[in-house]
């Protein structure tokens, strides 16, 4: 018996896998969804209504790049019309001032604009696109519009030493929040991990620097820092617990408890085209599978932290330990922690400073 489902709080709407960028750490699955299979405006609008009725407070429009959907303004209006708080997670491409105005007028509450770094050349190398200069233009347009802004810098080994420059860029913008989010190792990032994971020295320096920035900017800009959890002692509370707070919907309508859940073998996902959001949230096999504590192995089952981190991330357990129902191997108490330690030892060994120029595996465009 699993306990009754709690109220879902947030919906992550992956509107499309299409994207003008080819970032080497993209969190999309290796097998990208096809344009022809994407949900229609009507189905998404129904999903937003059902989400608001189920108690969901906010929806994050993401992808891929949500701006590649020609109906994005309609989707924002539909979501906002149900009372949901609407965030757009975007690269800023393709966007012009007229469309930005339409989005704001349709009720967009918040934009999270991603940057691949503070220097044009290295940022463009990571995104496999000449995107950086356009993002700076978007920043400028946002100064003249009433919509909240978060700047999101995705951090990894080759840009973690640019944090000062990123902070300066953030402070010169109108952002109320700046996120420094270390890459998490799923999807394309898992494939490129060897070239992305920072060294311990780099990480220690960045934590110090951002702690000082956080204090200096308190009350003006909120600074958020996400560490790569391979270096953490305890796992992250992935998604606030499986099936506890969030539902992610893929471009074709599959409902997932977590971005990467499709990598877990033999897990069946229901589709929003066939069933209502509430029915899926409460009863679908995928959401029930790791909800609560019933599924937990030792050492999680008897651990004091089990209500705080929920045993960590199921997808990471599968990726690193080969078993989605095992303790997240980043946990210092996990039987498989030695695997993470081996990865870190290879990176932080005597040869660590002599990195060769990485050869990246770029994410392609979907069909």
């Amino acid at each position: 018996m699993t306990p009754a489902a709690p109220t879902p709080l947030a919906l992550i709407a992956e509107l499309t896998h299409r994207c003008p960028l080819h970032c080497v750490y993209c969190s999309n699955p290796l097998e990208l969804g096809r344009r022809a299979d994407e949900l229609s405006t009507e189905v998404w609008s129904r999903v937003f209504r059902e989400a608001a009725e189920a108690g969901v407070l906010q929806v994050d429009f993401t992808g891929g790049e949500p701006l590649t959907r020609p109906d994005l303004v309609d989707l924002v209006r539909a979501a906002r019309g149900t009372g949901l708080y609407v965030s757009l997670i975007t690269s800023g491409l393709p966007l012009d001032e007229a469309r930005l105005d339409e989005l704001v007028q349709a009720g967009l509450d918040h934009i999270q604009l991603s940057f691949q770094g503070a220097r044009e050349e290295s940022a463009n190398e990571i995104s496999g696109t000449k995107a950086h200069a356009h993002k700076l233009r978007v920043l400028d347009w946002l100064k003249r519009r009433r919509v909240a802004l978060t700047l999101n810098f995705v951090i990894h080994r080759s840009n973690i030493d640019q944090l000062e420059e990123m902070l300066a860029l953030g402070e010169s913008s109108c952002a109320g929040r700046i996120e420094f989010a270390n890459v998490q190792y799923y999807g394309w990032a898992f494939a490129n991990r060897e070239n992305l994971l920072p060294t311990r020295d780099q990480l220690d320096r960045s934590v110090e620097l951002l702690k000082r920035a956080e204090e200096r900017l308190r009350g003006k800009i909120h600074v958020e820092f996400v560490v790569p959890d391979y270096y953490a002692k305890y796992p992250k509370a992935c998604m606030g617990g499986w099936g506890q707070k969030l539902m992610l919907i893929t471009p074709n309508g599959d409902a997932l408890p977590c971005h990467a859940a499709q990598i877990i073998p033999d897990l069946h996902f229901d589709n929003l085209k066939d069933r209502s959001l509430r029915e899926i949230w409460e009863k679908s096999e995928a959401f029930e599978k790791f909800r609560g504590e019933e599924w937990m192995p030792e050492p999680c089952k008897s651990c004091d932290r089990r209500a705080r981190d929920f045993g960590g991330c199921r997808c990471q357990a599968f990726l690193l330990a080969g078993d989605a129902a095992s303790t997240d191997p980043v946990c210092c108490l996990a039987p498989q922690r030695f695997k993470v330690d081996a990865i870190l030892a290879g990176l932080n060994g005597p040869a660590a400073e002599s990195f060769v120029k990485p050869s990246w595996l770029y994410r392609p465009s979907p069909a």
């Binding site: 009372g83 708080y85 003249r144 909240a148 009350g219 909120h222």
Partner: protein, 103 residues
């Protein structure tokens, strides 16, 4: 930062109350939401950029007339300061940048 009694606090850009008639009232903020109980909702509903802090205090002292007025005042000032530190409130009525008149 404790607000001046004559400033007119208002919700910062990206922050808004959800609509009346929802199951529970919340203050939406970028990347988070704050559930509101009786007094916190009464305070935030009055952060409209028109009322001064002093007016908000007086109104709530009348509303909660059984409570010690000094306590009501210090609770409100503390709450407003917390919201400001979380970037949910602007204290200046003179918006040097990003005014409501902008698009």
């Amino acid at each position: 930062m404790t607000p001046e009694l004559n400033c007119r606090p208002r919700l910062a850009v990206g922050c808004r109350l959800n609509e009346k008639g929802q199951q529970s009232r919340v203050l939406h903020m970028p990347e988070r939401a704050l559930r509101l109980n009786g007094p916190s909702l009464e305070i935030i509903e009055r952060c409209d950029g028109k009322r001064t802090v002093q007016e908000i205090i007086s109104e709530l002292q009348r509303l909660y007339s059984k409570a010690e007025p000094k306590k009501v005042e210090s609770d409100i000032l503390g709450y407003l300061a917390r919201l400001h530190d979380q970037n949910a409130l602007d204290f200046t009525s003179d918006q040097a940048y990003r005014s409501t008149d902008a698009k």
